[in-house]
């Protein structure tokens, strides 16, 4: 009964347990709860997209943690070959210690070619992605603000560099709800190691707790404690649950006005069901060998990311709204040829398979795929101890983002960076505008998807932004 838990947002009803319970109570119980909630808050009980014509209903966000280098993947810069190894000095109070001092330009170790009818620029380390080149919409105009990983991760994921705000997935699920009552609407498939900044990257922020991204861990228990201790059987648990029901009944009859009591008991039942359903969802047993092969499962170096890409497709099929898949770590300060050269093949085949697979299943139109990191990388490198190592530092002024499916402008490259790839110069937009565009593709209006908190209506873009209409198909 803490007043802080009440919904004050314009979209729908009150306390967050409704989320975890939606429909799982059975239609009657749920609708009566909802009716009660709706009358209390005078809010709309259902969640309808602001732009019903939008195609995307789901989003798979491929997060390349560490900041992939645009100039070594999708944004060729021949000029760098001319300048390769040329030294220069940078001193500026707006620069960090790391990006100051003696520096030199670094050419890309990779060759570029044009692919597909659209002539997309893709470097030669990508062997599979070119097959779906015409499904991709490259965007080279995006800029961010932070050059430290955790703050940059927060910025891309939540719109706020300092963390603590709701992540995109939480906002989208807040706006569109989940289609599956027994699964969270927002699922994260992290690497075994969480990214810098940790779980705040998929935080619900000030939105209800149930909107927090649920990380399904890639090893061990997918959700912490989802399984009882070894030796405790399902029947054993059922007996305990039945007893709990009886123990709780006395208080429930004494306090019929206290709705939390019933809700909490229902949550135990939901948890009990999830214990069997989650492992079912995670199992790849029903996939054909061909599918497994396509994603590079049981092959190296693709197994790790391939499994999670396939799982992302399965989750979307199950009605999960927003899936974020992490691949780390692209933070190649040194030896870009080896580091990026090794990383690209870990994600290349799985991503190409994911796009093809969704397309084949007729799901690509309604599933927006986003590929990006927290920033791009510099065309130059600092001279550090141990000689010249041909790497790149962090660059908030230029990066490549691409999208596929979900009504994006496939087969186009939008925006451009300067001749070095140092900064975006054409169709330049702050990340907040990309956020607004992402929501728009999913049928949501950033200006309407607001939540009243700490004295004002807050939104993903923080203070509002502009749709980058060139990215919309």
């Amino acid at each position: 009964m803490n007043p802080n838990t009440s919904y004050t947002g314009p979209m729908f009803a009150r306390r967050d347990f409704l989320y975890s319970l939606t429909a799982s109570l059975g239609p009657v119980a749920f609708s009566s709860m909802l009716a009660q909630a709706a009358s209390e808050q005078n809010a709309k009980p259902s969640r309808v997209a602001h732009f019903p014509e939008a195609k995307a209903k789901h989003c798979i966000f491929l997060y390349m943690e560490g900041g992939p280098s645009h100039v070594d993947t999708f944004d060729p810069k021949p000029k760098l070959s001319e300048l390769h190894m040329q030294e220069f000095q940078r001193n500026d109070e707006r620069q960090s210690a790391m990006s100051s001092g003696k520096r030199y330009y670094v050419e890309s170790p990779f060759k570029f070619a044009k692919h597909g009818e659209s002539g997309a620029d893709i470097c030669d380390r990508w062997e599979h992605l070119p097959k779906v080149a015409d499904e991709l919409c490259f965007y080279r105009g995006c800029q961010v603000e932070s050059v430290n990983h955790p703050t940059a991760n927060y910025h891309v994921n939540t719109g706020n560099r300092f963390g603590g705000d709701p992540s995109i997935g939480a906002w989208v699920t807040y706006g569109l709800g989940s289609e599956n009552a027994d699964l969270p609407g927002f699922i994260v498939l992290p690497e075994l190691a969480f990214p810098q900044g940790g779980a705040a990257n998929w935080s619900n922020g000030y939105l209800p707790t149930a909107l927090q991204g649920t990380p399904l861990r890639s090893k061990g228990s997918p959700i912490l404690d989802i399984a009882p201790p070894a030796g405790v059987s399902r029947d054993h648990q059922r007996k305990n649950l039945d007893y709990l029901q009886e123990v709780n009944s006395r208080l429930a009859s004494r306090h019929p006005e206290h709705a939390d009591l019933a809700a909490r008991m229902q949550n135990y039942e939901l948890a009990f069901r999830m214990q069997t359903q989650v492992p079912e969802v995670l199992s790849l047993d029903n996939e054909t060998q061909q599918t497994l092969d396509n994603y590079g499962i049981d092959q190296q170096p693709t197994d790790n990311f391939g499994r999670r890409c396939l799982l992302a497709r399965k989750l979307v099929e199950k009605g999960v709204r927003f899936v974020q898949v992490y691949a780390s770590t692209w933070d190649s300060h040194d030896y870009i040829a080896k580091a990026h050269g090794a990383l690209i093949p870990t994600v290349d085949k799985p991503i190409a398979a994911l796009i093809a697979d969704l397309k084949e299943r007729g799901l690509l139109d309604e599933t927006l795929i986003v590929w990006m990191g927290e920033f791009g990388r510099t065309p130059d490198n600092g001279v550090r101890g141990g000689g010249l190592a041909y790497g790149r530092d962090h660059n908030p002024n230029a990066m490549t983002v691409w999208m596929a499916g979900g009504g994006c402008k496939a087969g186009h490259t939008i925006g451009a960076t300067d001749e070095l790839g140092a900064t975006a110069v054409e169709n330049v937009h702050h990340i907040r505008d990309f956020h607004v565009t992402l929501l728009r593709l999913l049928g949501l209006d950033d200006n309407k998807l607001t939540y009243y908190h700490a004295g004002r209506f807050k939104q993903l873009s923080q203070f509002g932004g502009q749709i980058i209409s060139e990215l919309i198909g």
Partner: protein
């Protein structure tokens, strides 16, 4: 009369005080000089222009960069010209119905709703005003005329401040109700005349009467002792304490008052209430962000807060010490008094408050930006914590709703412009608990040695590889170093890829850890995490203790604060002097010195002035909100126009006045509140349904609102029930068992992995109260997170209580829950001699009451049933690891490597009693206990 001040410069302090003391809120009277404006002019000046300014011109200005759709709304000519979409059709002067503008603001055109933000859409009245104004010919008087009309005709009150960036802001009028918090405290309370008893009851009952609501009866003693014990100590009453209270033959009120007094003397009171304060100040033991370095020794601040509550340190002193502890030392000494080392240390620790937010400066940070982050953060935090004003809005502009100009934000910020970080060695305080430090240091030393060993062997390997390489090349060198000395060329050097990813990756981790571990030895030294006044030095990214300079004015820059354009530290505009908020009406003068020292004490003096209406209301409202689960004003950190208005404003003022009269005693305030009939009401109303109708938002206090235990309370109450709780106070942070998978999960920090979470080896070290848990921003206990422990980024005014499935997994399946259930079963088995007695005991230890016959029967049945289950199944003991192997991809080479971390303290680990350690019957009983620990009656407080 309408007091106006010159706008071109910040007003001098004296003048301001004079103005303020002449009464800040001046009702606007019609000016005799303004010529009577036409209706259209009035509409423009009073309604349309403010609308344009707050909702339109940000995107429709004359500046082309801020002009969407080519539409400029800053002059009549531009307005009539229209924009790209509608041109002149946008407005037909004199005919609103034909004007496209009406369609836009009426949100008739999809995708072109104006203003675009749903939350900013115009109200019906606002739309009518625009309509009537167009119909009246859309007159557009100039700024001077608008100001004249506004001053003469606008409703509302003006507020004297230091002045906004525009005259219009400075002279704007507020709804009086939005300024409630800025009003001087009411001092006379006629409604109390002739009333006896607790004035809280008088205030609350008066409103109940007015609303025709009957209050619930008083709760029974059993309910009350559980409620009040959990409230004040965060622990459950013991069966003995319950019996004593139930059998106290004094009258209810006297017996309860005595109980409150007893609890307030319990040292656990300080732990529980310090926890609330730590939420507000965002306490954590690490820095957050990329490195999440441990902060030695922020726990000393945590214990300072516990002591402050236990000692009932007057709140004014508490505030002053936290804002200006270091200055108090200097001032006391300057006044010729000497302070003991202990007294000094206490004050240096207290002022660590200023550094509780997340903060770091790395090699990739820009110094001016990280400094500005601190300044913005502390300005906003002080506003929220002490004044109930979220100030961050004013970083970029004058406040949209509250009388706080951006000038005030930077004047407040200037108070901190000379505040600098330092970690200094003090003396340990006699009251600080140093127990366990030696053992902990032993384990840390071992970790450190293992890591040094690793680095040494890597170095040996490096030398071997290098000398082999030189030999193979036929070069005469043994090492890179030697070759460099001899002037070898780049081509004669071994490639940096000579190392495989294994050595490279391991070395990287080893070096990072070397740095961390070395710094972490500060844990065992009496280091205070504190501040001093002086010049701002260039921060280094050497991740190490920040020393106090011998001369604080020798190095660096003495910051001169200015209003920052758009909040950007590289865009200073108008310089400001350190000062407090100008809109707060005060009777005294509170000059803030321009000198580099003494600014924060001046701020503290202002905040703790008895007639500061913000700070006094804020603190009593906070205390109230923890007792009732809601504030009299519903947003304890936001008393501005957008915060919830107080439901009982007179009561709030009376409490604030009473609090000051009682010398800022928080314990007295607890007594006052807890002994009221309002607080002792039953949570069940005899006519719950009609109450729900009469009081749908539960604002009447007719019933007591039940609450769910908070995260730390759940763990502590379980430990108390199972008898495992070690009630020791204070000291270095503890590391309880964390879900093993979460504890060992690799966690990225800058360039490497963080060391794993390894619990304290002995149960009595681990099973202490949750306030002592090592609170790493990047690695909190999942158990705490899922039960709504707030993140430590921003100040938390009041916690949420959500109901999500991970809570079920933690309480039903988690190892810690099982451990508690087993311990509880073992405890009651040893304390009783029959199954019935055992069940009685479990009920008393968990719910605080005896079970009825039916409940005993149910429990016995379940016990029997589960004993049968345990006869055929075995729950194996958990195996605890002594090392963990990390598989990682080296970020430089993109190639995999492995790294083995020795989990030193696990070698001596003594697990809590496991299911497999106890007999079959006890295992069955443990299931009964587990269920009761999951029960609603356990988790909710009525």
């Amino acid at each position: 009369m309408f007091l106006r001040r010159p706008q071109s410069r910040p007003i001098l302090l004296k003048a301001r005080v004079a103005l303020v003391s002449a009464l800040a809120l001046v009702l606007c009277l019609q000016s005799a000089f303004a010529s009577e404006p036409a209706e259209g002019e009035k509409l423009f000046a009073l309604q349309v222009k403010p609308l344009l300014e707050t909702k339109c011109v940000a995107c429709h200005s004359s500046n082309l960069d801020e002009q969407e759709g080519g539409f400029d709304l800053t002059s009549r000519e531009a307005f009539l010209r229209g924009g790209e979409s509608f041109g002149k059709e946008v407005v037909h002067v004199g005919d609103a119905a034909a004007s496209e503008l009406m369609m836009l603001i009426g949100r008739e055109y999809e995708g072109m709703e104006m203003p675009p933000k749903e939350a900013e859409k115009l109200t019906e009245e606002e739309i009518w005003a625009v309509r009537d104004w167009i119909n009246a010919g859309a007159p557009w008087p100039d700024d001077a005329r608008v100001a004249e009309i506004y001053a003469a005709h606008a409703e509302g009150v003006t507020m004297a401040t230091s002045g906004g960036l525009s005259d219009a802001w400075t002279n704007r009028k507020y709804k009086p109700e939005d300024l409630w918090a800025f009003q001087p405290l009411q001092q006379e309370f006629p409604q109390l005349e002739g009333k006896t008893g607790n004035p809280i009851d008088a205030f609350i009952d008066q409103q109940l009467e007015e609303r025709g609501i009957a209050p619930a009866p008083q709760a029974d003693r059993l309910t009350l002792i559980r409620r009040v014990t959990l409230d004040l100590t965060g622990l459950p009453p013991t069966p003995k304490e319950i019996d004593q209270f139930l059998n106290d033959d004094r009258d209810d009120e006297t017996a309860f008052a005595a109980l409150v007094d007893r609890l307030l003397e319990s040292p656990h009171y300080g732990e529980q209430w310090a926890r609330h304060w730590l939420d507000v100040v965002r306490y954590a033991d690490s820095s957050g962000y990329a490195n999440d370095y441990e902060r030695p020794n922020t726990w000393r601040y945590r214990d300072y807060v516990v002591r402050a509550f236990n000692d009932d340190k007057p709140y004014d002193r508490f505030v002053t010490e936290q804002l200006a502890g270091d200055e108090l030392i200097a001032q006391t000494e300057a006044a010729g008094h000497s302070l003991s080392e202990t007294e000094k240390a206490e004050l240096q620790i207290a002022v660590g408050f200023l550094r509780m937010g997340p903060w770091e400066h790395t090699g990739m940070s820009v110094a001016k930006i990280t400094r500005q982050l601190f300044l913005d953060d502390i300005t906003d935090t002080v506003g929220q914590v002490f004044l109930g004003q979220a100030l961050q809005c004013c970083r970029c502009h004058d406040h949209k709703f509250d009388p706080i100009p951006t000038r005030d934000f930077y004047s407040m910020q200037a108070i901190f412009a000379t505040t600098q970080f330092a970690e200094v060695e003090t003396t340990w305080l006699p009251r600080e608990n140093l127990k366990g430090m030696k053992e902990d240091r032993g384990y840390h030393q071992q970790r450190h040695q293992i890591n040094q060993q690793l680095l040494k062997s890597i170095n040996t390997e490096r030398q071997r590889l290098e000398s082999e390489w030189f030999a193979a090349q036929g070069l005469p060198y043994k090492s890179r170093k030697e070759a460099r000395k001899a002037g070898a060329s780049e081509e004669e050097m071994p490639p940096t890829t000579l190392f495989g990813p294994q050595l490279y990756g391991q070395e990287r981790i080893g070096r990072k850890w070397q740095n961390r571990f070395t710094w972490e030895f500060d844990r065992y030294k009496p280091v205070a995490f504190t501040v001093y006044n002086g010049k701002t030095r260039k921060p280094s990214a050497n991740y190490n203790r920040i020393d106090m300079p011998a001369d604080p004015l020798k190095q660096g820059e003495l910051e001169q604060t200015a209003i920052l354009g758009g909040g950007d530290p590289f865009s200073p505009t108008i310089p400001v002097k350190p000062d407090v908020l100008s809109a707060v009406p005060m009777t005294g003068e509170f000059p803030v010195p321009a000198e580099y020292a003494g600014r924060r004490s001046a701020l503290a003096a202002w905040i703790t002035s008895p007639d500061n209406p913000l700070s006094t209301r804020v603190v009593v409202n906070r205390i109230w909100s923890y007792h009732f689960g809601r504030g009299i004003a519903g947003n304890p950190n936001n008393f501005g126009a957008t915060g919830k208005k107080p439901t009982h404003p007179e009561l709030l003022d009376w409490l604030a006045a009473e609090f000051v009269r009682n010398d800022w005693s928080i314990k007295d305030l607890h007594r006052l509140i807890l002994n009221s009939r309002v607080w002792k009401r039953d949570s069940l109303h005899p006519e719950a349904e009609s109450l729900a109708e009469l009081d749908p938002t539960s604002s009447s206090y007719a019933v007591f609102l039940p609450r769910r235990l908070e995260a730390e309370e759940i763990r502590d109450v379980m430990l108390a029930a199972s008898g495992e709780l070690n009630p020791e106070l204070g000291g270095i942070p503890i590391r309880p068992d964390m879900n093993l998978e979460a504890a060992l999960q690799p966690r990225m920090i800058m360039g490497t992995f963080a060391p794993s979470w390894v619990p304290n080896p002995l149960p009595e070290q681990r099973n202490r109260r949750s306030i002592y848990v090592h609170n790493l921003r990047g690695h909190r206990l999942p158990f705490m997170e899922i039960f709504n422990q707030p993140g430590s980024e921003t100040s938390c005014e009041l916690r949420d209580q959500s109901n999500i499935t991970p809570q079920v997994f933690a309480l039903m399946n988690g190892q810690e829950a099982y451990d508690r259930a087993v311990a509880l079963a073992v405890r009651v088995s040893s304390e009783t001699d029959s199954p019935e007695a055992a069940i009685n005991r479990v009920y008393r230890l968990t719910f605080g009451r005896f079970p009825n016959d039916q409940e005993v029967e149910l429990a016995l049945d379940h016990w029997e049933q589960m004993t049968q289950v345990h006869r055929t199944t075995t729950v194996p003991a958990v195996e605890f690891p002594t090392k963990v192997v990390r598989e990682a991809v080296d970020e430089n080479t993109g190639e995999p490597f492995t790294f083995t971390e020795e989990l030193v303290a696990y070698k001596d680990y003594v697990p809590d009693t496991q299911l497999s350690d106890v007999d079959i019957e006890t295992r069955g009983l443990a299931d009964v206990c587990l269920v009761l620990l999951n029960a609603n009656e356990f988790i909710y407080v009525y």
